[in-house]
């Protein structure tokens, strides 16, 4: 019975900003241990969906369950505890620029007093090595790192507390194709090693296929397709096919002012 319970279950999720509907009745089940990719164009609601699951945005209605517990009705303290089981890689890494890399990586562990500072320093070295960075990088500040290195440090921070759930917001945006593939490889390795459930949002099709087991497409606040990530390029859905192949003509029209 318990094994059938999805790790993340979303039901009839709605969110509007003023008169603009951003999420319009999202229903989604993400089974334990699955790497789930959500694709969609800019402004389709991907980031808002992720932020709702993280509790950074409060939806207008609907439910979001993690292990069967509705996080929207949980107390602040419980929600904070649940966040301890979640790791997040932000689009621009969102590293704390006033802290050295090693403190960025172990910030969550230090905040929850799971490690003391000298132990945290050593632990950061180990985690940095897992994402292919030399432990000496720990002494640098984020502004001294390249974009690819910042992403890797962001990944190290996301996995440092061995979370049950990992979120990736546009993990390859702003990176060259080779570095993008490196980051994707690291993400796949980390997710497998931790046995975590992962949700990634992206509009990079190569990345989506490398990272994902399952995929779904979000369009105008609704999930219009869901299936194996391997079938993204030949989904049989005209909208998905237009998006994944980057075709100008098709059912998706861009509203451009002439």
């Amino acid at each position: 019975m318990t094994s059938a319970l999805p790790k993340i279950r979303i039901r009839d999720l709605h969110k509007s900003f003023g008169s603009k509907k951003v999420l319009d009745g999202i229903n989604l089940d993400v089974p334990q241990g699955t790497s789930f990719v959500i694709i969609g164009g800019s402004g389709s609601g991907k980031s808002v969906l992720l932020r709702c699951i993280l509790g950074l945005i409060i939806p207008d209605s609907g439910s979001i369950e993690i292990d069967g517990e509705n996080i929207l009705t949980a107390t602040d303290k419980r929600r904070e505890a649940l966040r301890g089981e979640i790791g997040m890689l932000f689009q621009n890494a969102a590293l704390f620029d006033s802290l050295p890399v090693w403190e960025n990586v172990t910030f969550g562990l230090l905040a929850r007093k799971r490690l003391k500072r000298p132990e945290a320093r050593d632990h950061a070295g180990t985690i940095l090595a897992q994402v292919g960075l030399d432990p000496s990088v720990g002494d640098l500040y984020p502004s001294e790192l390249s974009g690819g290195m910042q992403k890797r440090v962001g990944l190290a921070r996301a996995i440092a507390a061995t979370p049950d759930i990992l979120f990736f917001d546009e993990p390859t945006t702003g990176l060259d194709p080779i570095m993008g593939a490196v980051i994707d490889g690291l993400i796949v390795d980390c997710v497998k090693k931790l046995g975590s459930t992962a949700i990634a949002i992206t509009h990079d099709m190569a990345s989506a296929q490398r990272i994902g087991d399952e995929a779904a497409m979000l369009y105008k606040g609704q999930l219009i397709w869901q299936g194996p990530a391997s079938s993204l390029m030949n989904s049989g859905n005209a909208m998905v096919d237009q998006f994944t192949h980057g075709r100008r003509e098709g059912p998706i029209t861009m509203e451009l002012r002439k």
Binding site: L54, L56, F90, A94, F107, G108, A111
Partner: protein
Amino acid sequence: MLLNLVARLGRATLALIQAAGSLALFALEGLSHIVRPPFYGRVFFGTFLETGFFSLPVVALTALFSGGVIALQSYTGFAQYHVQSAIAGIVVLAVTRELGPVLAGLMVAGRVGAAMAAQIGTMRVTDQIDALTTLSTNPMKYLVAPRLLAGLVALPLLVLVADVLGVAGGFTVCVMKLGFSPSAYITSTLNSLKAIDVTVGLVKAALFGFLISLMGCYYGYNSKGGAEGVGSATTAAVVVASILLLAFDYLLTDLFFSQ
């Protein structure tokens, strides 16, 4: 036409009330986190150093020159009536009651309040505040509460230094330039000074420190729209803090010294 004007006035009034309410709630939440664990001592200490120690040179110079200017200006007026002996008293009262807290406050608002708004604003627009939340850290507790406390504690200490240096500025001008007797100047200063003068100055400083930090944190925390938003937040933090500081200065002066 008239209806439009009334509607505009109404909208502006509502917006002002909403902003005041939002600021009050923000301040209360920040204050509540000062007394509730966990405490972030490192953040507090860093901000305290930035506010108190690294503002020392600018506050010291401002106080020193202001004390000297008051002595000079008072001399040009008082000499006509042969009451130059009152200058030491004028300098010490002006510095401890008003110039020390107000000038130190304005300097710190420009230096530290702006930096707080820019730092927190940048964290907001680059998702660092969201990242804090995802790492189970309450941003109000981590970013705001230590800064409010640092402002509250650091400014009175700065003002104590400003008081001493302001009096020293007046002393230097009177003795070196105007030919006053050093011992007579010091005696006159001590005779004019009462504990309430310094105490009220320090109370003002604590309130100003809190207001400066509050404005820096509030505008930074609520900034949006990238670099331009951070710039606007920084400007607003300094301008509003400076105006509030002068308004509260008047209110406190009226409260303590109007009789």
